[in-house]
């Protein structure tokens, strides 16, 4: 994987919300965003802001317990948290492989996918920097560089 955009500073929650709003128009069905980072790095916050920016007005609860929450916007959105999974096969049981093709998928703790990590995916790596946060955009697919140019 290589960086497909310069690191983006996220000094406060509003900056994360604003980034999600800039991301929203760039995304569609078949896109997979893998959200990496330790507990509290801001993965769920970003996912929630993005789902709302895509027009979903209902609750966006954390998927940690439910594993997957799905939403209907102009297309289907899957918000998954794989933290509780113990084997990559379980992601298949969840129906994720199919959703990768047909829905916009936001996947927290994608490390649990192991070998099944989709190659076309965009990885957003969140980290804590001082009082704020930062996100790095990585992918094996160079197309993301073009797509994120206007971010």
């Amino acid at each position: 994987m290589r960086q497909v955009h310069a690191p983006i500073p996220l000094p406060d929650p509003d900056a994360t919300d604003a980034l999600a709003r800039r991301f929203a128009p760039l995304l569609g069905p078949g896109d997979v965003l893998l959200l990496e980072g330790q507990i509290g790095a801001g993965k769920t916050h970003f996912a929630r802001a993005l789902i709302r920016a895509l027009g979903v007005t209902e609750d966006v609860p954390s998927p940690t317990f439910t594993l997957v929450q799905t939403y209907e916007a102009d297309f289907e959105i899957w918000h998954a948290d794989l933290y509780r999974l113990s084997h990559p096969d379980e992601a298949i049981e969840l129906g994720l492989a199919e959703a990768f093709e047909t829905a916009l998928c936001l996947v927290e703790w994608p490390e649990k996918l192991g070998e099944d990590r989709p190659k076309q995916a965009l990885t957003l790596r969140f980290s804590l920097i001082g009082e704020g946060r930062e996100v790095v955009c990585l992918s094996e697919n160079n197309e993301w560089e073009t797509r994120l140019a206007g971010l």
Binding site: A18, R21, E58, D59, S62, T64, F65, T66, E93
Partner: protein, 355 residues
């Protein structure tokens, strides 16, 4: 007299139960859960049983076991109740298919139950509450205040806009190297701690309404922990106890204040019922009991607050008494909010204003 079989397979556990209604009182004749609780600690979290196959393999066994323990045959039942959502679709489907099969084979009515309605109606099974009552429902990833006016009449007064308290406790434990599940371990650690040493936020207290937020608390805990580590190069037991005590106090203050507001919105409530792990935490329970004041405080036993099939059988009885049941068109629903008329929690309009 009504006797129902209940089937639950919407999340981690597979369950079946037989509940009987005599007069106005429900009696749990059996309540079988094939769960994995004993594995939780080993895996640092709740290991989900996500596979539809796994549920399907256990379902007929737990149903047989529930019938045997209740000393009831299929022919003695009046209906089959089953969780039809919300939850992981594979699990819900397995339960619904089994219930349909049993319904066809026996000619018994099929009653589809909303899993959350099962939780919300449990205080009527355990304590015979009358409508309306206020419910603080805390289970799995859920945390919401509900006004309950009838078996199918729920008004959502507010809820968490991010993490549920159980999740906050689990993540707090994780961040401090304490065992899972986090609720009991953080509570035990907090006993020796000073809740005032670290200043944790009280999220959303400055905003009107009954919504809750616990995600920021997790961040605050992490910063406080890192602050101590940076200063001393590590955490002492006392540091950890103080962090837990402060964290728990912040959750207690937030839940207490939001409960006070929810109670103010339901002056006619016959009781304040708290279901879930929150009521198992002595500090939280004491605060919520105090807030309830003259309104009776009710906390069903924990085994009936975690996912179980007795609550599904009971909710089925409640629906059946209203003359409601389903047929073979009953479908499994991954999403199924209890209160369909509730406004979204936050963010509507955010898109236009700040885009």
């Amino acid at each position: 007299m009504l006797t129902l079989l209940g089937i639950e397979s919407s999340c981690d556990d597979t369950g079946a139960a037989v509940v009987r209604l005599k007069g106005d009182a429900g009696e749990v004749l059996s309540n079988v859960v094939a769960g994995q609780t004993e594995l939780h600690a080993a895996f640092g979290g709740v290991v989900p049983e996500i596979a539809a196959r796994a549920h399907a393999e256990k379902l007929d066994i737990v149903v047989e076991e529930a019938l045997a323990q209740a000393n009831v045959r299929l022919g003695d039942l009046d209906a089959i109740a089953v969780t039809a959502g919300p939850g992981l679709i594979g699990g819900v489907l397995s339960g619904v298919m089994l219930a349909k099969g049993l319904s066809v084979a026996t000619g018994l009515p099929l009653v589809g139950v909303n899993h959350l309605a099962g939780h919300a109606l449990t205080p009527r099974l355990t304590d015979g509450l009358t409508f309306p009552y206020l419910m603080l429902l805390v289970s799995g990833g859920h945390c919401q205040f509900l006004r309950v006016d009838g078996p199918e009449d729920f008004t959502r007064l507010g809820g968490t806009i991010d993490d549920a308290p159980g999740e906050a406790f689990d993540k707090c434990a994780k961040l401090l190297g304490l065992p899972q599940p986090g609720g009991p371990s953080v509570e035990a650690e907090a006993k020796a701690g000073d809740p005032k040493r670290f200043a944790f936020p009280r999220p959303l207290l400055d905003r009107p309404g009954c919504d809750l937020s616990f995600s920021g608390l997790k961040t605050a805990l992490m910063r406080a922990r890192d602050g101590v580590v940076a200063e001393k190069g590590g955490l002492t037991r006392q540091d950890r106890a103080d962090l837990c005590a402060g964290f728990q106090a912040a959750i207690a203050d937030t839940l207490a204040e939001k409960s006070r507001r929810a109670l103010a919105l339901c002056p006619d409530a016959t009781a304040f019922a708290v279901a879930g792990g929150v009521a198992a935490n002595a500090t939280l329970r004491e605060r919520l009991t105090k807030v309830a004041g003259n309104t009776p405080f009710v906390a069903p036993p924990l085994r009936l607050c975690t996912d179980n099939a007795a609550m599904i059988a009971w909710a089925g009885i409640e629906r059946l008494r209203l003359g409601h049941h389903d047929d073979l068109t009953l479908s499994a629903r991954p999403r199924w909010p209890l209160d369909q008329k509730a406004a979204p929690l936050i963010g509507s309009g955010k898109r236009g204003a700040k885009a």
